[in-house]
Amino acid sequence: MSYAAAYSLYNYCFHDPAIGAAEYGNLRLIRAFEHGLDPTSSEAGFVLTHVDMVKHSSGLVKGAVDLLRAADESDHAGTVHAFDLLLSTMQVVEKSMEAMWTHSKPKDYLSSRTFIFGNPNHQVVIRKHPS
């Protein structure tokens, strides 16, 4: 499945729109295979932890843009500030990732994965209908 356009990054909504993505506990799935519509389930935890990590990625994009601009303008303070933003963003992303296995039980993943990639012996192929 497409990670961005389907399974994860286009599959979240908010319990309270006023809070938005600011709090992990406000995130909900739109679609699920198993028990994912229950936000405390392992399926929801697995997907929504990815959303929670990626929500910080604006800091990485802004940090990269600021860094290029500062370097281009030989702006030493701006360069340091951009590196600080990249570092602090990576720290919050890392912290969010560390919560993965409290939001989602590893043993439940064996069940969830059934619908994500199937398995190595899988022989399903997409082919044109004979008609």
Partner: protein
Amino acid sequence: MSPYLSSPTSTNGDGQTSTRHDPFKQLENDPAVLPSSLDPFTITTSTGFLPLHPPSTKLPTAFHALADIVDYMPIAKVDGTPGLLATYALGPTIDNGALPNLTMELDKLVTGDGLPDLSEVTAIFRDYAFLASAYLLEPCWERWNKGLEGYGLGREMLPACIAGPLVKSANL
């Protein structure tokens, strides 16, 4: 100015305004004012790699048959009661014609400027992607859930009512 940053007056070496697609054109724009005809995964400094706008949760009216099936599909529905996958009933539901082929309906999803509404199209792609995986892999889930060894094999054929709009929405 760094060549990696967009400039509102970017020109090529001949002094002509470049018509080359600029992937960074919207980089520092406010997503709130960007049209839904843009790829929702256009990168900005305020949304990063998340979509420009929160994903659509309600599909357009023409896709209600799809929305109904994916609402009823999960092993546990939103109210906690068993859905189609809980009783391995998704495949028979599709095979019995519950889902019309809505491929042509995708052409009607345009924004005010006549361009494809990629925000809506992506929500529809998401739902067909979930449905395609669930349809193909439902037999594997049944085998796993019954405690048999391994996942077994999935269905061999994806019907046109899923494959058609899945491919079309992916290409848009």
